[in-house]
Symmetry: C2
Subunit: 189 residues, 2 copies
């Protein structure tokens, strides 16, 4: 940030009075420009014993596999953001369950929120590559491309999911609402 | 937003190519200025059968009672934000449990995240009014000033907590980690 978005004057980076950390300050109009973490919302879409992943068509991590997720927009809820991202990246409609992983990424000022979801069964085809995906497909646990996952948040979410499923044993058809929330902090790239 | 914070030129509000919603665009340097929801993080500090509330010394809702909470900062985790806000507003140190309420407020572009917490027992005095509070005190359920709570998110969080406690019966000493997550959407002021 170089200029005040309100009045156009140059800003300086300093600690405001009655504050304890530096902000971008405009001496011309007095605006303090706060900067805050952003939420990345998405889903873990499941269908029977398989999960839906998208191969990224865009940077960063182009060509690697991810869960459908992206920056939450103003005016929407976290669930609406997860539904929209899943529609955009995987052309898939989902029934959303509870929040499944909540991951703080303080080094990049992001909070990841992944909702567990079921692919809506009535649509055919149930999914396809959106403009930001090269390919979208279902993976059983044995098929997960662990070495080709795009982000550590995706790895963490899938590890929790298959551990929760193993805990269920062969019965394995837990209701979406009965999965626990897993939270964590990742401080590396 | 009137001016580009990168180059200082005037911005216009229009839908960028390959996008589906209007953003602030700079035709001079090409920057697209995205705006995203902010996280309000805080705690519900409990001590035996009482909860800690702060009476606000600042607008909005000056004079009304709230849970210690505020905008999450860059570089911190949601739990760290909850601890910091509780320290700033109530001069209290807490042991943080799980995420307890997650409330989407899409009309004001906020996501509320309240962690259940215990007041650390070893400090004396355990709490005091910080600069943004007029008064800080513990309330039993019967003492809660329901008509003088500052925000609907606070009301919702307290209603869930006392309902969960009633469900426990007289035993009433559930571990912090055993309380469920409650989520919701509030679309009004």
């Amino acid at each position: 940030m170089n200029f005040c978005s309100h009045c156009g004057a140059p800003v300086r980076f300093a600690i405001p009075m009655d504050d304890d950390r530096p902000r971008y300050l405009c001496d011309n109009c007095g605006t303090i420009h706060y900067q805050n973490p952003r939420i990345v919302a998405g889903s873990l879409p499941i269908m029977a014993d398989r999960v839906l992943l998208c191969r990224r068509a865009i940077t960063p991590r182009e060509g690697y596999w991810t869960l459908p997720a992206g920056f939450m927009e103003n005016g929407e809820t976290t669930r609406e953001a997860a539904i929209r991202e899943t529609r955009e990246e995987a052309c898939a409609e989902i029934e959303v369950g509870g929040l499944y992983t909540l991951v703080d990424l303080p080094h990049i000022n992001q909070v990841y929120m992944i909702y567990l979801a079921r692919l809506a069964p009535q649509r055919e085809p149930a999914f396809a590559a959106g403009p930001e995906s090269l390919e979208v497909r279902l993976f059983s646990e044995a098929e997960i491309p662990w070495a080709s996952l795009a982000f550590s948040t995706v790895t963490l979410t899938l590890e929790h999911f298959f551990a929760d499923r193993r805990h269920d044993g062969l019965a394995g058809d837990r209701a979406l609402a009965d999965y626990p929330l897993h939270d964590g902090v990742i401080r590396r790239w």
